[in-house]
């Protein structure tokens, strides 16, 4: 990347065509001025967005991606509408299979528990339905659902008889086991046509959302000396203001330019306290919470 604060004035090496919008009598820019302007302009990101929003996108034939943004007041109103138990009602993405044609009725297919006023989620799809829409809402203990945002309809790619070739790499195509969220080494070794030994009834319960699955990083059955091995991971996601410094478990967490972050680490045994330290870098002020 660029070098440090050059002092010399940039030789403008005047271009043969006029710079757009730059009149000839304007003083040429020095690198220092350009960087100063860039630094000022950079403060315009990220932008706060008003209103509730839910967007659904297809990742591949077996995976959907959803992101959303919900104002706190909107969510509070939805919880209130559920009555006294609403405060504890979980946030849920409810997936529907839209009816084909104009007169049909949309059928709810499955729910995925999620969290966060602004967040993103991956949802693995195990059945053959191709068209989905989602509603974000809160689910009351009595089964009532109060929606706060709705997505457009998304059509997943068709399920092709053969996995598509990985044209640019030697990576294997997505397999069904991965879509179910668990990996069976024996099944992988047998090739993509193999069927993983899914426990009866498991598939009927509907798809497992990816973030739940990520807590199971490996899963071995039937080997000589291993009856069951479960390795759990902790996935911590969140957001803060860009430019802050965030520490989790005593380690600095890299922030993306919009202030979001995501870390994975093995789940330690026993009770877990998430010690979180947020530092405002420019001011040297910090806040701490756990």
């Amino acid at each position: 990347m660029g070098d440090e604060a050059p002092k010399a004035r940039l030789d403008p090496d005047p271009p043969t065509r006029p710079q757009p919008g730059t009149s000839p009598d304007q003083a040429p820019f020095t690198p220092e001025e350009l960087r100063g302007i860039q630094d000022e302009v950079a403060k315009s990101f990220p932008r706060h967005r008003d209103g509730a929003n839910l967007v659904l996108m297809d990742v591949d034939p077996r995976r959907l991606h959803a992101y959303w943004s919900v104002p706190h007041a909107t969510l509070a109103a939805a919880r209130e509408a559920l009555g006294p138990d609403g405060e504890q009602a979980p946030l849920v993405l409810r997936f529907h299979e839209p009816a084909s044609g104009s007169g049909g009725k949309t059928r709810p297919k499955f729910d995925v528990r999620v969290q966060g006023l602004e967040n993103r989620w991956y949802v693995d799809v195990t059945d053959d339905a191709r068209r989905y829409l989602a509603v974000l809402g809160v689910l009351g203990s009595d089964g009532r659902f109060e929606g706060v945002a709705r997505s457009d309809v998304v059509t997943l790619p068709p399920l092709l008889p053969e996995p598509p070739p990985a044209a640019d790499s030697d990576q294997p195509a997505l397999d069904v086991d991965a879509a179910l969220g668990v990996r069976f080494p024996e099944a992988e070794a047998a090739g993509p046509e193999s069927t993983a030994p899914v426990a009866e009834g498991e598939a009927a319960e509907g798809p497992l959302p990816l973030e739940n699955v990520l807590t199971l990083s490996s899963y071995a059955m039937g080997r000589q000396d291993v009856q069951l091995e479960v390795n759990a991971e902790l996935l911590v996601e969140g957001r803060t203001r860009p430019g802050r410094e965030l520490y989790l478990f005593g380690q600095r967490v890299p922030l993306r330019p919009d202030g979001t972050f995501s870390i994975r680490r093995p789940l330690p045994q026993g009770a877990l306290i998430l010690t979180t330290v947020l530092t405002d870098k420019p001011e040297g002020e910090g806040g701490e919470g756990s």
Binding site: M1, D13, V41, D60
Partner: protein, 532 residues
Amino acid sequence: MARGYLALVLHAHLPFIRHPEYESFLEENWLFEAITECYLPLIRVFDGLVADGVPVRLTLSLSPPLLAMLDDDFLRGRYRTHIDKLSGLADKEILRHNGNPQFLELARMYRRILHETVETYDDRLGGDLVGAFTRLQDAGALELITTGATHGYLPLLRPQPSAVRAQLQVAADAYERTFGRPPPGFWLPECGYYPGLEALVRAAGGRYVFMETHGILGADPAPRHGVLAPLACANGVAAFGRDPHSSRLVWSADEGYPGDPWYRDFYKDVGFELDLDTLRPFIPVGDTRVHTGIKYHRITGPTDAKEPYEPAAAAERAAEHAADFLRRQVEAVEAQADGMDRPPLVTALYDAELFGHWWFEGPQWLDTLIRKLASDQDVVEMVTPSQYLDRHGDPQTAQPSPSSWGEKGYSEFWLNPGSDWIYPHFHDAAERMRDLARAHGDAEPESLAHRALQQAARSLLLAQASDWAFIMKTGTAVDYAYQRTRDHLARFHYLADGVEGGRIDERRLAALEYMDDIFPGIDYRVYADEGV
């Protein structure tokens, strides 16, 4: 008469990287390396073929950011500085290897290459590579096509259809402004396709697109001839499917030609071997090591102990591989021709930067292949997609399947936990741009508001380049991809705030125009339409 056809298609693209706010900038080297190692060698190959009267019909996709950078005087000046530094290093290398005949000969080869580079770039082309490509198109050797305006991955921009429309229309307009004619076809960025995209392709004037293999094989109804003939979408836009066999011969790390032990090794470069004090005068930024293009070893095999490079032996292998590639295409055509109602077409799609940059002998291979196609057989003829459609129109009508040429064949490479944070910002900004275009559609040309709207559209397009998500996935230069995404979105919102608030700082606006000097003819009103 030939029994079938080969459509060789190269896609040349680099993200728009131009940093006048720094005295020098490491990532600008991506363009400089590609000019020296890929674009100039390819131009020399094509010019040589034309001069020798060899029939060549190759399709070349030139992305708008690449065209803009090749045509930018600021970057031309920096390229000359770069090539002067490299020439200095090559001279030093000759002194270093005095007494070692084998390496001395290689050092002389690099100095000769750099002299040829300067001769071609300065004396013959006057720094005008775009003009060279234009002349080759005018001579009938190349069919030049375009792609997304900044190579935005269209399936993930789809939630705001105006963003997809702008990517295609701005690219088409830039193409016409450069070449004086509308683009005959589009290279969909990353071959990313979704049903309905053909409407926007057609609206932008495109007659055809290319698609990954399963986009064609998964079409509805099933294609009668697999990927050996194009399909027509319902609106008539033709879709040419990538032939997996010819792709694998060049792309595959295991089966592909570029992995041959006699070919030059890419990674063992003096930029990572010489001591820094020696290198420092010749590298762009501080103490950061870079590939110089001066490499003395061949791939040898799966070992760190590399043998010295032998250009003559490598040239022999390139000729053998060209003959092998041709033999396989002839066999494929002869095996299928009798069962088809039209001559089979093998569509071979490659990144242009593979040739010469990653695969040093790639231009030699291409040169030999094209000469052999003309002289060694009469079964397979080179053809461009336009020529094939003109000769064998009325393709089977079918709906292609969603697809991309990325890992696993769909969108995961650009939508994953490493890059998914960018899409809410992309969609939000595209919606804001659409609203601005509708609300301020009558801004007076050259007024501050008009200039700010034009620049806001440029900023949004630059943020959307698929390269940034690609880099976030591959894990190299991630900070730079973050910075570019953030900076362009910030510039967009800064300008949008200015337009909405009626407060536009002219000096700052001019600075943004200067730094993101691309698409001089853009019309921000392209965002006012929702799409098709």
